[in-house]
């Protein structure tokens, strides 16, 4: 069974993939559908969903919730994917070198990842974002900086175990150089857990970004799901949709990504049971 067949054999994975595509579509289409942007005031504040012209109601200032949700998708996806790509890039590079060469390089990497584990990472993130001034870029950089150690640890573990496998020894014997061994022999076999971890990380990055915006540390000029929830705190008790709807969007998106991650895991490791 090919990889694609295995992936799509599981209903949750199909569901996750479909939902994810839908969200991407909405995110891409938002500027086309809602040209005025999410920040313009369109009506009275705190109108419930179903009011004329307001599919999802209006928020505390009177902005269209539906537009806000659509634009919020753009931020979440952007930050989630960009920060994960950066983190994976750094993590794979450092983890591969440390795992393959071992010795003091490996010790160094382990000390660094330990350091990141000991520091309260969310507090560090807040400090970084505050330091760099809250913006989309600082969120991406900050999240990438606190999550790359996870990737590096996984990659290092993979490389450590694969480098003493016999087919790698065989590659050395036939005269393959280190770089070639890393890229053509070990990395393709190390990919499955890296792919799975990455898909989970996108979900986590979206959660982290929403936490930052909730606390007011997100980009002040952009509307994100987290900032919508943060801004609606005062109205939560009387206008539940201002809080519940953005939160549901986050849950659905991250859930879809996690289903995809699980599906990838099953598809890439067919021998695993249960």
């Amino acid at each position: 069974m090919s990889f694609a067949r295995r992936f799509f054999a599981s209903p949750p994975a199909i569901f996750g993939f479909a939902v994810f595509l839908a969200i991407v579509a909405i995110a891409l289409a938002a500027p086309l559908l809602f040209a005025r942007g999410p920040l313009s005031i369109v009506d009275m504040p705190l109108l419930p969903p179903g009011s004329p012209g307001l599919l999802a109601g209006s928020d505390v200032i009177g902005r269209d919730m539906a537009v806000g949700l659509a634009y919020g998708a753009r931020i979440s996806l952007l930050v989630g994917i960009a920060s994960t790509c950066c983190a994976v890039g750094i993590g794979v590079l450092l983890g591969a070198i440390a795992g393959y060469y071992g010795g003091w390089l490996d010790d160094l990497l382990m000390r660094v990842t330990e350091f990141f584990q000991i520091i309260p990472s969310f507090v560090l993130l807040m400090v970084l974002v505050a330091f760099l001034q809250p913006s989309l870029g600082s969120a991406v950089i900050g999240i990438a900086l606190i999550t790359w150690p996870q990737v590096a640890r996984v990659v290092r573990g993979q490389f450590l175990s694969l480098r003493s496998r016999e087919f790698v020894e065989a590659a050395r014997i036939i005269g393959m150089g280190d770089a070639r061994i890393i890229f053509t022999q070990i990395l393709p076999n190390a990919l499955p857990p890296i792919v799975v971890v990455s898909s989970m990380m996108v979900g986590n990055a979206i959660l982290t970004e929403s936490a930052l915006s909730f606390l007011g540390l997100g980009d002040p000029n952009l509307m994100s799901w987290g900032s919508m929830i943060g801004g609606s705190r005062v109205a939560m008790w009387v206008a539940w949709w201002t809080t519940v709807l953005p939160g549901l969007c986050i849950v659905i998106t991250v859930l879809a990504l996690n289903f995809i991650g699980d599906g990838l895991n099953d598809a890439l490791n067919p021998r695993r049971r249960g």
Partner: protein, 530 residues
């Protein structure tokens, strides 16, 4: 009435397995005070048959036909609870890998006592006292101290003795032993087999012994049944089946067992191609700040090897033979000593100078399942070496086709992936990969240990043919003396990193000088077998 009677037993495998029935229409009888062996290669269904008697078939595997009669009662028709009560007092089982078969977080004493207390109303204290006695009967020293030990603190042989003690603690009528010595060193194996035989005689117990090794059958069994693809192809007394086998398959199996008798003639005198002297390799455990002592895996080892000859390096696990091989081929860097290849010392050469010389020494590995990159095609795997050395891809593929044919495979397999091939075929591919570089020296590190005996014989023959055809100098690592006798001109015996004895195969086998070598030879199962 026989103690145990399998009547037309049929066991079905779940959907998607390579065949629908694991065991088909198997009938077998074990009398009281009798040792019966079931012998077969992997996939023959022998192990599942044993598990069925205990009612321990894995999930999804079900006995669909026939009966298992124990003292007349059909075990397949009994309730779970009734079967549970039999396990221990009536029937007991020991497994292949004692490290995996013992709970790693429970002390030895507690585990054995648990077996006793599952069926007898005894306090923990009394049960442990009984355990202490049992362990002593198994030949274990300091049984009281062992009660508090954990499995990982014991040696393989000790662990298997604990398993046996546990199994025999309630004096069962039938002991099922599923390949209990396969995971052990050959000297330990001999001791455990002796122990089982002694206990069987003392207790007049019946034993159902599963094995793949005919030597073990010859030493242990009163009767034997040969299984293949889920069916019994032949059965009878040991003397009958081994002396005058009726079925073709039995004959093929017997022929494939390396006898260790037809010794190769001494090699033609030739200049040594490889000369190793004083090779030493130490391993230090722990990191920078560890103070644990270094282990000397290879201790001042010297050897010489010429073209056209095969030198066998024989030893048990921990003898250093694999480390030696890896030092010679520079997968590991030796701490001291020389490795002269045609006069040039490669032991401490820098990688840059070493690289062009690498093609002259190649290796065939032990594990057919991890020696080929699962994500590359056979063609890529086999042509990788020559292409790195600059050979044109088209030419390399043409040569690959020839080399694959040489090792007995069709050139079409170049487009396929390793998982599509069997263990024996993968070893052939590994050999082709090595030969593509036109080496002068071939190191074979336990190349047949993971293979079934019939496939083993084929691969050994192939290695020998290749050596002769290409006039290779071959270093053959193995733990099995019988295999060494089949293909080696000279043999070197290693123990704890040192060379114990070395000489012509015939001399080592017929007139061993050292006690250790004598012990190794005496431990070979089936040695007395005509």
């Amino acid at each position: 009435m026989p103690l145990l009677a399998l009547q037309n037993l049929t066991i079905a495998l779940p959907q998607g397995a390579d065949r629908p029935l694991a065991v088909e229409d198997v009938s077998l009888q074990i009398g009281r005070n009798e040792i019966v062996c079931i012998v077969g290669e992997s996939g023959s269904g022998k192990s599942l048959t044993a598990h069925a008697v205990m009612g321990l078939l894995p999930r999804g595997v079900v006995a669909t036909g026939g009966g298992i009669l124990f003292e007349g009662a059909d075990l397949l028709k009994e309730t779970q609870e009734a079967m549970r009560r039999r396990r221990g007092p009536d029937i007991a089982m020991i497994f292949q890998d004692p490290m995996a078969a013992l709970n790693p977080v429970m002390t030895v004493g507690h585990q054995v006592a648990e077996q006793i207390r599952a069926h007898r109303a005894l306090s923990e204290h009394r049960a442990q006292k009984q355990t202490e006695e049992l362990l002593g009967q198994m030949g274990l020293k300091d049984p009281r101290g062992l009660l508090k030990a954990y499995p990982h603190q014991l040696s393989g042989g000790q662990r298997q003795r604990v398993m046996i003690a546990m199994a025999l603690s309630l004096s069962p009528k039938l002991l099922i032993a599923d390949e209990p010595t396969t995971a052990l060193d050959v000297t330990t194996q001999a001791q455990i087999l002796k122990l089982i035989k002694r206990l069987q005689a003392e207790r007049a117990m019946s034993v159902l012994f599963i094995t793949h090794d005919f030597g073990v059958v010859a030493d242990m069994a009163d009767s034997v049944a040969v299984m293949r693809h889920g069916r019994i192809v032949e059965s009878g007394t040991t003397r009958q089946v081994l002396g005058s086998p009726a079925h073709d398959y039995t004959r093929a199996l017997l022929a494939a067992v390396p006898k260790g008798e037809n010794y190769l003639p001494p090699p033609a005198q030739a200049k040594a191609l490889v000369q190793v002297s004083g090779l030493t390799k130490r391993f230090r455990r722990g990191g920078l700040f560890s103070r644990s002592p270094a282990i000397t895996a290879v201790d001042q080892v010297s050897l010489s090897l010429s073209r056209g000859e095969t030198l066998g390096v024989v030893g048990e696990s921990g003898s250093g033979k694999s480390t030696l091989a890896r030092c010679v081929i520079r997968l590991l860097d030796p701490d001291a000593g020389e490795v002269l290849l045609d006069g040039a010392d490669i032991a401490h050469m820098r990688e840059r100078r070493l690289r062009p010389l690498r093609r002259r020494i190649q290796m065939v590995f032990q594990d057919p399942f991890s020696s080929l990159n699962p994500r590359q095609t056979i063609g890529d795997i086999v042509t990788a070496g020559p292409r790195i050395l600059g050979e044109d891809a088209g030419q390399a593929r043409a040569r690959a086709a020839e080399t694959l044919e040489l090792v007995g495979l069709k050139p079409e397999c170049m487009h396929r992936f390793p998982h599509e091939f069997s263990g024996g075929q993968r070893q052939r591919i590994g050999l082709a990969r090595a030969l593509m570089l036109k080496p002068d020296v071939l190191i074979a590190d336990e190349p047949v240990s993971a293979l079934d005996v019939t496939v083993q014989a084929q691969v050994l023959k192939l290695l020998d043919d290749v050596r002769r055809q290409m006039n290779l100098a071959m270093l053959f690592i193995t733990h099995d003396m019988r295999v060494a006798a089949e293909v080696c001109h000279r043999v070197m015996v290693m123990r704890h990193g040192q060379v114990v004895e070395e000489g012509l195969t015939r001399d080592i086998f017929t007139a061993p000088a050292s006690d250790y070598t004598k012990a190794l030879l005496a431990a070979i199962p089936g040695r007395q077998w005509p």
